[in-house]
Point group: C2
Chain length 168, copies 2
């Protein structure tokens, strides 16, 4: 009477990255319709020392990619952060979705007891897979996903909770 | 080789509500130090048709409360939304944490196959417990939690990711 580590992770990442891509499409349409320079939206922040929209998308993608790889006992690949257009950000999300498709449930299941070591504030920190997913990886994933959404809402893009939730 | 529905839900709600309360304490200290009327922060929004800080906290609490009750096969209690001060919002978070403490793992475990029916856009929608938790309840919980954080950051409250993550 349980759920698997795969069910608790990859389907959620897939659902939410799908919504991130759909919202990005709406943001591009808004910029085009209002003749807004894409760089303005892609660089938008909620406060000067917060990360801009582009970086929030990259980090959302990376938490999905890195969490999935680590739960499978693998070192995640590093991807360059060099996206500077709507199309390049769409490609980053697409590449992340393809990466997730490369994992079978059997590679992730059983990860609840696997040690995962990551640097936090420069210090290697080891979690059991279950705590890593529930207490660290999912909160971080949703943090950047929601920040990306909030930046767009703050800039007047017409999206709502339904867009954020995606295909649930 | 699995995790339980309890482990995937209540400990995350508890951890993140603890961080929400600690950030709220910092927001109050900021308002006091800068002589900001509490009502200004509590009513702050990222855009005119987005919900204000107080409502984001109430909804974060409600997603924790309602999800836990529904996974246990119970109708969640309805709580009035009448908080209008930092102290009252702290009490709402504390009451939610106490509510979660009232559930034993055995009441939640096994919920992955239990039907959960909720109104979405006015239409009763039925999920299996696992899809309800992973694809709907957690994304919603983190949505409002992150929105509360983003509103404060946008208003210059000095908090960071470590505050958001809480005691992981």
């Amino acid at each position: 009477m349980t759920i698997t580590m795969y069910q608790a992770s990859v389907p959620a990442f897939t659902q939410m990255l799908g919504s991130l891509a759909a919202i990005l499409t709406k943001a591009e349409a808004h910029a085009t319709a209002k003749k807004i320079d894409p760089a303005v939206l892609l660089g938008a922040r909620l406060f000067p020392d917060m990360l801009p929209y582009t970086r929030q998308i990259q980090l959302t993608c990376d938490f999905a990619k890195n969490t999935t790889a680590r739960l499978a006992g693998q070192e995640p690949p590093k991807w360059e952060d060099k996206e500077s257009s709507f199309a390049e950000l769409q490609a980053r999300i697409g590449k992340t979705l393809d990466f997730l498709k490369g994992y079978k449930p059997a590679q992730i299941d059983g990860a609840e007891e696997r040690d995962v070591t990551i640097p936090i504030g420069g210090n290697p920190t080891t979690f059991k897979g279950q705590r890593y997913l529930v207490g660290f990886a999912l909160p971080n994933f949703y943090f950047h996903l929601s920040a990306a959404y909030a930046i767009l809402r703050h800039n007047g893009i017409e999206v709502g909770k339904r867009d954020y939730l995606g295909q649930f």
